[in-house]
């Protein structure tokens, strides 16, 4: 086969001005296709991409799961999932078109002959018009990630001379530093790093990407974006619901693994990173890794001083009485899994030295909100001391990811009247009012990017290892600590110990 060098050919002149860039012909194999993530997110995302004409001309989906199932049954199952969870009403013709490209192979993930069947199917689909790129999406329980990756290599499915082969790996990438390193050893033995796309779906969210746009497309914030002007930063990911039916997963995971190690550290890196030279995948990820490397892994003593973990107890959610965590179905009576975690971290570099960064996340809190609040230092001299007002408050910049996506800046303003009384007012930008268009689901963007080989919004191996290097000492220190866990009432703002952690500052109200 003649290999053509795209460099000599140059860019495709026809893509200039197009919003939707071409996606190479691909056979996408989803392992764990009968699972919850596939039903709720992946299959609906694929439908919406098909609806918008964003899937490549030649596209096939192969579903893999443990149980045997006729292809018709799989298609019926996929149809139900899409109808139930798609963000738009499916167009029957497009849906039928997509279903007709869906295939199914049932085998246990550790059953090597099953991969032979998968290979046969992939090659049969190639026969209809030439080889297609291969993308494997690992949406299974994490213990199967190394099993599947190894088996793909055994079956010779991990590399092809003629087409691109990519492997998308869902979170969690490991459950601690050791397991992440072990998984990485397996993955790098089978795939080159450029072939691996580790998902953190937060990065696919428009509002998360907007953190970078906000910082690097607006010159006015850069001069104050440092230790000289910023007093502290709060990153919050609060949920108002409990663990629902996920006791099995959640009790072995906890808040720290579930949200802090991945999503919240991603937000931290986006807030603290230096401007990349360009928006290329490795340039962006280099800067993110530098931030993570600048956070010294805490000692046991620092863990004790700078972290809080807690469990929710009975309380109220939406006016209704709700159980505490230990009374939830499937949770062991003696569980010490945290449903709330608060951390104080510091980025030890020239820009951020001395600026505390507080992270908190929890289930069954007063309100659902994900936000980054940047608290600036107070003005150096207070000229306005009039009584009868709350006075001059430090400026606060809040980037809200959900539910009211936007940016808010608090400013001091004069209260109308004869005396110089000041109160804070908000200057707000709201996504919902400034862009009336509906944002695509994070998974739509990420699936397309993976098929296109665009890795900017995926986590690189050194990045995920750097994340675990920060979190692992906390996990170990917590495991060794037999003191009773802090608690907080369901529907409250969190445990009192978290208020002590942030003192003399205060958490933003939920």
């Amino acid at each position: 086969m003649t290999v053509l060098d795209p460099q000599t050919l140059g860019e495709n002149p026809l893509i200039e001005g197009l919003e939707r860039l071409p996606v190479p012909a691909t056979t996408l194999t989803i392992f764990g296709v009968t699972g919850d993530l596939s039903h709720r997110k992946l299959l609906p995302a694929l439908y919406n991409l098909a609806h918008e004409g964003a899937l490549p001309e030649r596209f096939n989906l192969i579903g893999v799961a443990r149980r045997e199932m006729p292809e018709d049954e799989f298609r019926a199952m996929a149809k139900d999932a899409i109808r139930k969870f798609s963000r738009r009403e499916p167009d029957p013709t497009v849906l039928d078109g997509l279903l007709s490209r869906m295939h199914y192979v049932g085998f246990s993930f550790d059953d090597q002959p099953g991969y032979g069947k998968l290979r046969e199917l992939i090659e049969r689909l190639d026969a209809d018009g030439g080889k297609l790129n291969r993308a494997y999406y690992l949406s299974t329980a994490p213990e199967y990630f190394p099993v599947i990756v190894e088996a793909l290599r055994e079956a010779g499915l991990n590399y092809d001379d003629d087409v691109d082969v990519r492997c998308v790996i869902e979170k969690p990438f490991g459950t601690d530093l050791e397991s992440a390193l072990e998984l990485q050893r397996v993955v790098e033995h089978v795939f080159r790093e450029q072939q691996v796309y580790r998902i953190d779906h937060y990065l696919g969210k428009e509002t998360v990407q907007n953190v970078m746009a906000f910082r690097f497309a607006n010159f006015m914030f850069e001069p104050v974006w440092n230790r000289n002007y910023i007093e502290h930063i709060q990153i919050t990911a609060a949920e108002d619901i409990g663990i629902g039916s996920r006791a099995g997963y959640y009790d072995s995971s906890g808040a720290l693994r579930d949200l802090v190690q991945n999503h919240m550290l991603q937000l931290l890196t986006l807030v603290c990173m230096e401007p990349p030279a360009s928006f290329e995948a490795d340039k962006v990820r280099d800067e993110k890794v530098k931030v993570l490397d600048s956070i010294t892994p805490p000692t046991p003593e620092e863990v004790y001083r700078n972290t809080v973990r807690a469990q929710y107890t009975a309380g109220h959610e939406g006016g209704e009485e709700v159980h505490g965590y230990l009374e939830e179905e499937g949770v062991p009576d003696d569980s010490r899994t945290e449903t709330y975690a608060a951390l104080r971290l510091e980025v030890h570099n020239w820009r951020w030295a001395g600026v505390p960064i507080f992270l908190r996340t929890g289930k069954r809190l007063a309100r659902k909100v994900t936000e980054i609040a940047v608290q600036l230092k107070p003005v150096p001299h207070l000229a306005f001391q009039s009584h009868g007002s709350v006075g001059v408050q430090p400026n606060q910049l809040v980037l809200t990811m959900q539910p009211n996506e936007g940016v808010s800046l608090s400013l001091g303003a004069k209260i109308p009247g004869s005396s110089m009384r000041i109160r804070p007012v908000n200057m707000e930008f709201l996504y919902g009012s400034a862009f009336m268009s509906q944002s695509p689901e994070a998974y739509e963007r990420l699936i397309l990017d993976a098929m296109r080989g665009e890795a900017t919004l995926f986590t690189r191996s050194d990045e995920v290892i750097a994340q675990w290097s920060i979190i692992d000492p906390i996990l170990k220190a917590w495991a060794a600590d037999d003191q009773p866990l802090h608690t907080y009432a369901s529907g409250s703002g969190g445990p009192a110990a978290a208020d002590e952690l942030i003192a003399p500052h205060r958490w933003r109200g939920l």
């Binding site: 053509l4 200039e16 004409g53």
Partner: protein
């Protein structure tokens, strides 16, 4: 919560603007979650008798609607201004979320007001937001009057029966405003698919070997077909030649240093406006074509040895409501390829 409405006969722009401000303050007092949309102003000039039809079209644009709509209804012989202003919300606000407000002003004007329409509309648009003008029933003098304050003009080159005049008008508007042409937007899926067909490295070199392009279009959509050919020509560096009417369609050539490219426009029967199909042939005998089909576009590829394959490229039709919504959305983006395509298309009819 119902819309707040204010009406006045024999009014002035200043009175309308004051009423809007007052209604906003009142609304915000009653509904703290109320937030005015701040995307763009849209000024629409219509014949009074067809205003309902245009309002219906605007309702179908979904979430892509402008934040402040100024509908200028032209009533023959009218001497004095009349206005209705209303503010409301798109959806009932959910608990804990914002209620995005929409503002609509309807002005009743006479023809005599059109040449000075800028002095009437200027106080009514939200400052610092982009302003788009759309005039689906003609009234070009009204559009020209607003060019001073508008950054974007929405047109549909298919509305003008004289294709040469349509392209010339679009070119003239492009000189000082950003033109969003619905005829161009209808061809977006076609352009995307053609770009994708030549995107693989082994296919990209074929772009230099194109020998013939045939565009099938609805009878009244020749402007869309020309814009498509203009797009290919401008992107690939072709020198366009004039097309001539022949065999019920239009034929002509474009030139490169190496070869001539045969261009053919074929009118066909179809319901939706715009393109019906595209065939691109290479000197080697290879060809690719796209045609409308249920659930997307039917793609066909003929290889050098004569073997043919076909498949469906999935995609749902946006419908005309969706196209207008896309036009509103595109107003805030910039497509650098439209104007060169327009110039190239104009050379093909000129």
């Amino acid at each position: 919560m119902p819309d707040d409405v204010w009406r006045e006969e024999d009014t002035t722009p200043a009175a309308v603007e004051a009423a809007l401000r007052r209604m906003f303050t009142e609304r915000h007092k009653e509904e703290r979650a109320y937030v005015p949309a701040r995307v763009m102003n849209m000024v629409v000039i219509v014949d009074r008798e067809f205003r309902g039809e245009i309002l219906n079209r605007l309702r179908r644009v979904g979430r892509f609607h402008p934040s402040r709509l100024v509908l200028v209804a032209v009533e023959p012989g009218r001497q004095r201004l009349a206005a209705t202003a209303r503010i409301g919300t798109e959806d009932a606000p959910k608990s804990g979320s914002i209620a995005v407000g929409l503002e609509r002003v309807e002005l009743l004007v006479g023809e005599r007001h059109l040449t000075k329409l800028d002095t009437i509309v200027d106080p009514l648009v939200v400052s610092d937001l982009a302003t788009m003008v759309w005039s689906p029933h003609g009234h070009q003098e009204g559009v020209d009057a607003l060019r001073r304050l508008a950054q974007i003009v929405l047109i549909d080159s298919l509305d003008e029966p004289d294709v040469e005049a349509a392209l010339a008008r679009a070119d003239d508007l492009s000189s000082d405003t950003y033109v969003v042409d619905l005829a161009w937007l209808r061809s977006t899926p076609w352009r995307e698919r053609v770009a994708a067909s030549f995107d693989a490295p082994q296919r990209r070199k074929d772009l230099g070997k194109i020998s013939a392009v045939t565009v099938r279009h609805r009878e009244d959509s020749r402007a869309a077909a020309l814009l498509f050919c203009g797009w290919l020509g401008s992107r690939l560096g072709w020198e366009p030649g004039a097309m001539a009417h022949a065999h019920g369609g239009w034929r002509g050539h474009a030139r490169t240093r190496k070869q001539d490219i045969k261009l053919t426009l074929e009118p066909v029967d179809q319901n939706p406006p715009g393109l019906a199909g595209v065939t691109i042939e290479l000197a080697s005998g290879q060809a690719m074509s796209l045609d409308r089909a249920p659930g997307g576009l039917c793609a066909r590829r003929r290889e050098r040895d004569g073997t043919e394959r076909s498949w469906i490229v999935m995609g749902a039709s946006r419908g005309e409501g969706g196209i207008l919504g896309e036009g509103v959305r595109q107003a805030l983006l910039r497509d650098p390829t439209y104007r060169p395509a327009l110039k190239s298309a104009a050379a093909m009819v000129g």
